[in-house]
């Protein structure tokens, strides 16, 4: 084996090694991107699920199929704070998709961050949706922010917790959903700190039609 052959072998090994490293790097990057996109998708799907549920429930504040059951719809909101709300509504069932005419109580609130110490994300919380006097069971949807503001008829913001819930005419709901784990791909462009993938949704002005219909 002459020196030329040895040089050829060395050169081809270098070229092959380089190509292999490129391929492996490409593989790694693609996998990271794929997973990042997948996790981003999960965050967005969680956000859509939460926002659709909230919109559905909150639009039915003060609704009851039997309107005579709610004498004063303005009093349907029983408690209103930035992270908790209790109101009267009428649940849909399979047999009665437009409600059964029996008044129900619905409570929404978020738990504390200490309930989810098992996740790396220190901000995520459980969100609770409690029907009547059922035992509260938190659902993990990655919610890190669940914030509500309330406005009266003249669009003045009401201080919370709202003393006179009957003054509430409009609501603003803000939700942020975060991933429980940081992905290195996502970072703050200013600080270069890695951040949790998040999605943000705000219902700027939600009006429950039944709240003020009478």
């Amino acid at each position: 084996m002459g020196s030329q052959t040895i040089l050829d072998l060395i050169a081809s090994t270098i070229v092959f090694g380089t190509l292999t490293l490129i391929a492996l790097r490409l593989n790694g990057s693609t996998m990271e991107n794929t997973h990042a996109f997948r996790e981003d998708l999960i965050v967005q799907q969680n956000l859509v699920a939460v926002s659709e549920l909230l919109e559905y429930d909150f639009r039915k504040i003060a609704y009851c199929k039997d309107y005579t059951v709610i004498e004063s719809p303005t009093m349907a909101i029983r408690y209103a704070d930035t992270s908790k709300i209790i109101f009267w509504t009428d649940f849909s069932t399979l047999a009665n998709p437009y409600g059964d005419g029996v008044l129900d109580s619905l409570t929404y609130y978020v738990g504390s961050t200490s309930e989810l110490l098992s996740t790396p994300n220190p901000n995520d919380r459980l969100i609770y949706r409690v029907e009547n006097d059922a035992t509260p069971i938190g659902v993990y949807m990655g919610v890190s922010t669940f914030y509500m503001q309330y406005y009266d008829a003249l669009r003045n913001q009401l201080s919370t917790p709202v003393d006179s819930c009957q003054l509430i005419q409009y609501m603003q709901i803000t939700i942020q959903v975060e991933h429980p784990v940081k992905w290195t791909k996502f970072y703050n462009v200013a600080t270069y700190d890695t951040v949790y993938q998040s999605a943000f949704w705000r219902q700027v002005r939600l009006v429950a039609k039944n709240l003020n219909n009478r």
């Binding site: 092959f16 190509l19 391929a23 490409l26 593989n27 693609t30 996998m31 991107n33 794929t34 996109f37 997948r38 981003d40 998708l41 967005q44 799907q45 859509v48 926002s51 659709e52 639009r59 039915k60 609704y63 009851c64 199929k65 309107y67 005579t68 004498e71 004063s72 303005t74 009093m75 437009y98 409600g99 009266d152 008829a153 003249l154 006179s164 009957q166 003054l167 039609k209 039944n210 219909n213 009478r214």
Partner: protein
């Protein structure tokens, strides 16, 4: 090119295809997620638009029941169906929004509006006509000019007013309140005319009278039949009792250009007017005097399924002749509701309990009491049956017979 290069190209291609598909799937799902939310929002908005347009049509023409069929809207369609059978005397509206084969339903129950939607309405209120300590308004109240309070009256239902004027104390608004709300006093004449027409139909013992004075006394006999007695002068004795269905077959009683007195216990549904033709309203023309308690036979406060209903529409004042007093019914006056003049000085105050609705064009400074501790203590208890079924021909707050939303499912 050697075999290795071909393997390399094949390997890379395979890898790209694999990851390409996975990434493409992610992209598709993300897009699908966004589209799902967009579509659900779209079909909701389309159904809402249909409902709003139909409500507007009913507002423009209260007898409109045509509905809409497959009206294109924002790349979808909506259909609106109006049902007047499921809920008698009401309109049950269903708006169906269709977008990309998905549907959303909005269901609205509408009821003809009436001034009886208020427990208490006053058009022009004197600053001195205050609601005071011990006064309770349990139901919606509107004071178009101002709501004047002194001390700590309690408002259990929603309160609206042109302006809130407080003198000492702090009123309690459990149902919230809203200023700068203008609901003008309606024209009562079409309602009164309709009642007069019905009462003036052939038949009936004495359900229509022109001029002079008419005293009506209602009672319920041992067999549960509502009876009516009447007389034409205070010095007379009441005549023989006649079943209400015979006395006023249409359920409407009218006195035109006269002075009407009412008392007793009512079973069934009666609408009474003291109307005017050519004369001007005063204490002898178009006025109604509540001589004694006017009660329902079946109390709606203890038995909400009560079907007893009284409506009184007066062209002039409604005057309360004694205290304490309980009045069941929907009372409308095109002038003032007030106490008999010597009652405004009653001390201690006595209760005036109205179960139903009191609608007055104005309230004068001493109509219900002379000062803070004389006259009547109000206890207004709204009869919630009036929300969904106002008395026949009770004045409507608008000229076009508008509707009220009773429930809105979306």
């Amino acid at each position: 090119m050697g075999r290795s290069a071909i393997y390399m190209v094949m390997g890379m291609t395979f890898m790209f295809l694999f990851f390409g598909k996975t990434m493409s799937d992610n992209g598709t799902e993300a897009f699908s997620n966004a589209i799902d939310y967009y579509e659900s929002t779209q079909m909701f908005n389309i159904a809402e638009a249909g409902a709003n347009l139909a409500c507007n049509q009913i507002f423009l023409n209260s007898s409109w029941r045509t509905g809409f069929t497959n009206v294109p809207m924002n790349n979808g369609t909506f259909t609106v169906i109006l049902d007047t059978v499921t809920y008698p005397n009401k309109v049950y509206m269903t708006s169906i929004g269709v977008y990309q084969q998905d549907t959303h339903f909005v269901k609205i129950l509408l009821s003809p509006s009436s001034m009886a939607k208020f427990a208490m309405y006053s058009g022009n209120v004197s600053s001195a006509a205050k609601l005071r300590n011990g006064d309770t308004i349990d139901g919606p109240i509107h004071a178009n000019s101002k709501l004047s309070t002194q001390g700590n009256p309690v408002f259990i239902g929603k309160a609206t007013m042109g302006q809130l004027q407080k003198t000492a104390g702090s009123p309690t608004f459990l149902g919230g309140y809203q200023e700068n709300v203008n609901i003008t006093f309606p024209d009562y004449a079409p309602s009164a005319a309709a009642i007069v027409d019905l009462a003036n139909n052939p038949g009936g013992t004495h359900d229509y009278q022109n001029g002079s004075e008419l005293f009506l006394k209602f009672s319920v006999d041992g067999s549960g039949v509502c009876q009516v007695q009447y007389k034409l002068s205070s010095g007379d004795s009441y005549g023989a009792a006649v079943p209400l269905s015979t006395f006023a077959p249409t359920g409407n009683i009218a006195l035109v250009d006269g002075k009407l007195h009412i008392e007793g216990t009512i079973k069934g549904q009666v609408t009474i007017t003291s109307a005017l033709s050519a004369t001007s309203a005063d204490d002898s023309h178009g006025a109604v005097y509540i001589d004694d308690n006017v009660r329902y036979y079946t109390d709606p406060l203890t038995n909400p399924s009560s079907t007893d209903m009284l409506a009184v529409v007066a062209a002039s004042n409604i005057q309360i002749q004694k205290l304490p007093m309980r009045m069941d019914g929907a009372f409308f006056t095109n002038s003032s509701a007030k106490l008999k003049s010597d009652l405004v000085n009653d001390s201690p105050m006595k209760q005036l309990k109205i179960v139903g609705s009191l609608i007055s064009k104005s309230i004068g400074s001493t109509d219900f009491g002379n000062g803070a501790s004389q006259g009547a203590n109000f206890y207004m208890k709204y009869d919630t049956r009036l929300e969904g079924g106002s008395p026949t021909n009770f004045p409507n707050p608008t000229n076009n017979n508008s509707f009220e939303v009773l429930s809105w499912f979306e």
